[in-house]
Symmetry: C2
Subunit: 263 residues, 2 copies
Amino acid sequence: MATERNDETVGTGTLGKAMAVLETVALADRPMRFTDVLAISGQPRGTLHRQMSHLVHEGLLELRADHVYVPGLRLLKLASASWARSEFRAVAAPFLEALHGETGETVHLGVLRGREIIYLDKVESRQAVRMNSQIGNASPVYCTGVGKAALSTLDPAALDVILSGIEFQRFTPQTIVDRATLLGELEAVRRSGVAFDREEHEPGIRCVAAPVCDAARSLVAGVSVTGPAYRVGQEKLDAWVPLVRRAADAIKSELDARLGPQR
Amino acid sequence: MATERNDETVGTGTLGKAMAVLETVALADRPMRFTDVLAISGQPRGTLHRQMSHLVHEGLLELRADHVYVPGLRLLKLASASWARSEFRAVAAPFLEALHGETGETVHLGVLRGREIIYLDKVESRQAVRMNSQIGNASPVYCTGVGKAALSTLDPAALDVILSGIEFQRFTPQTIVDRATLLGELEAVRRSGVAFDREEHEPGIRCVAAPVCDAARSLVAGVSVTGPAYRVGQEKLDAWVPLVRRAADAIKSELDARLGPQR
DNA sequence: AACTCAGTTCCAAATAATGGAACAAAAAGG
DNA sequence: CCTTTTTGTTCCATTATTTGGAACTGAGTT
């Protein structure tokens, strides 16, 4: 059953270890002191200390006066440049705007990366929530509309690789927490062409999503319209279905058109 | 003493080289093929190839089917996490909102990093420009309001380290392109407490900025209000001076108050 | 003063990166 | 169609870097 080697644990030599440490600090939800990282990483003191010094030196981490490590500004700079140059995002942007115009609710564009969905763009009217809150965010595939939409486009082999690595976690009473249910749900998504998130990730948040992927299946993504449950009932989600599907298809066409001629 | 060591040329072993390659790809303004990077980096083919393979393996770069390297999504994920957890940004946010409310124009928060200003946050009403366009962006210190404000807080030694490394580049007719003029300007900024950008970086764009730095001078930043020249004359900039200064001072106080007790 | 704990430095041994050259696959050119 | 050139990939003995245990520092306790 072609159980692909789980390369994630291998680590690409020095770089892999450095990234593991960086991620430990960057994704932690509290400021990390040296000892905190030490406990998590399990590396010898001397080794870890040098690794972190290197990260600081490179501007990927910052060591504040009180011995607290925080993510460095170089990360922001690199990510900003990469975001600005993302061709996919640029292609999709006008369709996201249009979809937002039609629905009046928040529109997301997310891409599959490993077992996560990473949000590439967002369009929303209300500035109430701090801008930027979603972009670059990573969420699990199995409990987001975009995630399920993306998964629905994969062939069984690719799907198996992802699914076998998932550790289901319950976020709400509606969260799907077993593989069988998820597979059933994906079958439904394949038939209907859209995926719903009925408060499976965050209580009070619902969405409809449709899959977007390029011909080579090298880019697997999804578009969604999201709204608060008190305002968005099933009828509204159903009403959005054709809109979301149309937006997703339009992005896909535009993508194929742009990528085709290059060759 | 301990003047910051200018190790930038040394490179932190393996990690430094990897980051140099990553930055080459991420900051380029066109998609890069292997050979393009090869020419720039000057490394042997075999070496560079392996380095880039490692970067791809780690998700920092992505190798598309047509042999084009693009920045990887992991960068976005890391940067998003770091942005969300930036304490400084969180402290400043409400004051930026207030300043935007008072002026009606775009407000920026930028931090000094090396010889660049990196924008940490932005508040603007009009959605016309794609959101996110500024955040994480890097601009030169010498031709931005925030940059000159930040520089004005530095002591002569620290300032000298930065200035001696600058390669002035002319962006507009008003851009400051020599050290002497810049030093004079900084003196004026120190006296008045605010820095102006009179279309020095982008034609048609003006701003007023005030410096923000913490007591230990480990964080050097600035706040600015920016507007288009056709709408923003010198009188308007002058009118904003007290507002910007007040916002900057308020952020500084809040910062000291929060960082003080921790100790 | 003695003790602890967090952070930092050191250096022989283990490991990973280097880079030149050979190989493979595509384009370009005749 | 075959040759040449360009581009991308792999190999492996040599070289440089990382490793990790232990020893050192220095601030905060008891």
